[in-house]
C-alpha cells in the first residue's frame, strides 16, 4: 500500500490542536507506519510540498500570508481538514471581529500594554498585515472535513485519521464537539 502523505499546518491558533495531536501517544507510532509526515511545525520542511494527500489545518485565517498559504495548500492537497475550533469557526481568534478592524487589538497589545517602546510593529514583506476579520478556513478555500473542538480530543483525531486512511467513513456525529 502506498504511504499517505500527511501534512499539518498552523495558522491563527494556539497550537493546542497540535498538542492534542501529539497526545495520540503510542498510536502515533502506528500512524508513522502508514504515513509520511511531509510538512508541519513538527518537522523541518520549509516549503509546502506538492502532492499531499491529507492536511490538518489548525487556526483561523488572520492575515494575508494565511490566505496565500491556504490557496497553495488547496492546490497541492487532496483532502483538506479544518482542524479544531479556530479553523472551523474562527473561535477565540475571531473574538476580535466584533471590535471592528485589527487596530483595536494591535493597539491594546503593542501600545496600551507596552512597558517600553510602544508602537505597532510594521515590517512590510516580513510581517504580513492582519485581515479586517479573522475567518474560518472554509470561507477562503473549500474544506473537505471538519473536526471541531478546542482542542479536538485525541480519540476523535484518531477516528478521523483512521477513516481517512481507509478504515471506512468516520462516524460523523461523533466527530462534532465544540469548545
Amino acid at each position: 500500500m502506498e504511504r499517505v502523505r500527511l501534512a499539518t499546518t498552523w495558522f491563527g491558533g494556539c497550537s493546542g490542536c497540535h498538542m492534542s495531536f501529539l497526545d495520540l501517544d503510542e498510536w502515533i507510532v502506528d500512524l508513522t507506519a502508514k504515513v509520511d509526515y511531509v510538512y508541519g511545525p513538527l518537522v523541518d520542511t520549509k516549503e509546502y510540498p506538492e502532492g499531499v494527500d491529507v492536511v490538518l489545518i489548525e487556526g483561523a485565517i488572520c492575515n494575508t500570508e494565511h490566505v496565500e498559504m491556504a490557496h497553495r495548500i488547496r492546490q497541492r492537497t487532496k483532502t483538506v481538514v479544518s482542524f479544531g475550533d479556530c479553523a472551523v469557526t474562527s473561535n477565540v481568534v475571531g473574538m476580535r471581529n466584533p471590535l471592528g478592524g485589527p487596530e483595536v487589538v494591535l493597539n491594546r497589545a503593542y501600545v496600551e500594554l507596552a512597558d517600553v517602546n510602544p508602537g505597532i510593529p510594521v515590517a512590510p514583506g516580513i510581517l504580513p498585515p492582519l485581515l479586517d476579520r479573522a475567518v474560518p478556513v472554509h470561507q477562503v478555500i473549500p474544506v473537505d472535513h471538519f473536526l471541531p473542538g478546542c482542542p479536538p480530543c485525541p480519540e476523535r483525531i484518531r477516528m478521523l485519521l483512521e477513516s481517512l486512511l481507509g478504515a471506512g467513513a468516520a462516524p460523523t456525529g461523533r466527530l462534532i464537539k465544540f469548545g
Binding site: G94, L147, G173, K177, F178, G179
Partner: protein, 238 residues
C-alpha cells in the same frame, strides 16, 4: 377526554385531545428536536426546530404548538427537515458570538448539543460578529447577549412561573434583545426577585450565575418542573 389516534413516523400513536404532536411523539418515544420549548411553560413556536411534515399538507407544522388530530400522518425526519434544522442552527451560530471554548455553558449547552445531534460541524453563513453587551450589574446573575438565541424561555418563566415580569424583549428583528424591566441594567431592576428561574430555564450560556468559570454552568430543570407540578397538579412531593 377524547382520545385521538395518529401516525408518527409510521408508528401508531394515541394521545388525548389537546396534546401537542411533540407531547404525543415523546410519549411514544420519538424525539423531535426543540429549542424554544420548555416543559412547564406555554409554547410560542419560535425556534422552528420542531417543524414536522404532515401528509397531505404542503406546510410544515411546529410540533410544539400543533395539537394532535384524528388520522394525522406525521413525519418527524426527512432529508428536507434535517436540512432545515441544520440551517436554522447555522443561522443561530452566525447571528451572535458563540465561542464555546470561552463560554460558561460549554458542555452543558442545549444549542451545542443540538448542533452535535443535527450534524452541524461548521457554519456556512457569514458570521455577523455583532458587538454585544454583557450585563453584570446583578449581584447574583449575569446576562451575556453574545450567547442569547432569543428563545424567550427566560421571559416566559419570569412571567408565568415566578410572576415577576422582569424579563422582556425589546427591539425587533436581529436587533431584538432580552431586557430587564424597562431596559435598565438587571441590577437596577425593581421587579426581579433574584429567584434564579431564568437561569435554570436558559438553554445557552446567555444567563448564568455569577462566579461561574467556563464549563461550569449546569442547570437544575427539576426545580421548574416541581413548581409547575405543585401549582397545577397539587403535587408537593419531590
Amino acid at each position: 377526554m377524547a382520545v385521538r389516534t395518529l401516525t408518527i413516523d409510521s408508528k401508531q400513536v394515541s394521545a388525548e385531545e389537546g396534546t401537542t404532536i411533540l407531547g404525543a411523539a415523546r410519549d411514544a418515544g420519538i424525539s423531535i428536536p426543540t429549542l424554544c420549548h420548555l416543559d412547564g411553560i406555554y409554547d410560542v413556536g419560535a425556534c422552528r426546530m420542531c417543524l414536522v411534515e404532515l401528509a397531505g399538507s404542503p406546510r410544515l407544522l411546529p410540533a410544539c404548538t400543533t395539537m394532535v388530530a384524528e388520522g394525522m400522518d406525521v413525519r418527524t425526519q426527512s432529508d428536507r427537515l434535517r436540512r432545515y434544522r441544520r440551517m436554522i442552527l447555522e443561522l443561530l451560530f452566525a447571528e451572535r458570538n458563540h465561542v464555546c471554548a470561552a463560554c460558561v455553558s460549554n458542555g452543558h449547552c442545549e444549542l451545542q448539543t443540538m448542533a452535535y445531534s443535527q450534524g452541524m460541524d461548521h457554519v456556512r453563513f457569514a458570521y455577523q460578529s455583532p458587538l454585544l453587551e454583557v450585563d453584570l450589574t446583578h449581584a447574583s446573575f449575569g446576562m451575556d447577549h453574545n450567547r442569547c438565541i432569543l428563545c424567550t424561555r427566560c421571559v416566559r418563566v419570569c412571567w408565568h412561573i415566578e410572576g415577576a415580569g422582569t424579563k422582556n424583549v425589546s427591539g425587533r428583528g436581529t436587533h431584538a434583545r432580552i431586557i430587564s424591566d424597562l431596559n435598565q441594567p438587571w441590577g437596577m431592576s425593581e421587579t426581579c426577585s433574584a429567584c434564579g428561574k431564568c437561569i435554570q430555564a436558559c438553554p445557552t450560556g446567555a444567563l448564568f450565575r455569577r462566579g461561574m468559570t467556563a464549563g461550569e454552568m449546569e442547570r437544575d430543570r427539576t426545580r421548574l418542573e416541581f413548581l409547575v407540578n405543585a401549582r397545577e397538579k397539587k403535587q408537593w412531593n419531590v
